[in-house]
């Protein structure tokens, strides 16, 4: 009897524990009302990679190497109604063990959390979750093979 109960409990746990990733989260929310969604595919990245230099931080930083290393870009801007659900989905993805917390900042109601998946010096997935003061929440996910050194230049 004890063996049967143990087997049943293990099977029920397996049902509930499926992994959530950036693409899965994007697909779940992109068609919902009150959600703005942007997706850029690997094919579009190749076209973008052929464009002139892309500079940010007042023209000081060339991010073309980063863009050429990306294979997927997901952006969701959800309203305050959907925000709690989105945050719990991201939390599930983090708890699945794949993502590590890179940074968390809270400032007058603006909360930002950044998570990454790395293999050595290469970032394979990046998630940023930012709460806005108007109640909206922004989710940005980058997939690819991003060199950590190139990525850190963004913050300088």
């Amino acid at each position: 009897m004890k063996k049967i109960i143990t087997i049943i409990a293990a099977m029920l746990l397996a049902v509930s524990a499926f992994a959530q990733e950036g693409r899965a989260i994007y697909n779940k929310y992109s068609d919902m009302k009150g959600v703005e969604a942007v997706y850029i595919s690997p094919i579009m990245f190749k076209l973008v990679g052929n464009l002139p230099e892309i500079k940010v931080n007042n023209g000081e930083m060339d991010i073309a190497p980063i863009i050429k290393s990306l294979s997927g870009f997901y952006l969701l801007n959800v309203n305050s109604k959907q925000a709690p659900n989105l945050k719990s989905e991201v939390k599930k993805a983090i708890q699945s063990g794949k993502y590590e917390l890179m940074m968390e900042a809270k400032d007058n109601g603006d909360n930002v959390s950044i998570y990454t998946v790395s293999k050595g010096d290469v970032i394979t997935s990046f998630i940023m979750l930012a709460d806005e003061t108007d109640g909206d929440t922004t989710f940005i996910c980058l997939d690819g093979t991003i060199n950590q050194e190139d990525f850190s230049k963004l913050f300088q």
């Binding site: 997706y39 579009m44 990245f45």
Partner: protein, 129 residues
Amino acid sequence: MKDLKDIENISLEQLEEIAADGRIPVPADLESGIRSAISASERKKRLFRYPAIVSAAACFAVLAVVGTLYLSKPSVDLYAEPEDTFTDPMLAYAALESALGRIGSTVGENMEKTVAFDQTMEKAARAIK
């Protein structure tokens, strides 16, 4: 010696007369033997019931797991590749520039705050010394 047929045809009153007859010896362990035979019979009935309950519980458990698996299956393929938002690479480029710029400024600002905080803590530590 009576035949089996004669014994089967004995009436209730005759059985009572035989039981009341004190000349017939009764074995000393007759009562305990009867009680243990009844107990053994009841135990057998309980044992026969137990496998049925376990089988029913196992069938229910399998149905519950199959039902949960079926109901938890999402209606949308969550891992299918989505459709590109932009058809023009210039628009995609603009969206990327905006997003990466935002990431850079967010992390950069908070790193500056961390550095400023460290400097403040160092000053405080020197003052305490």
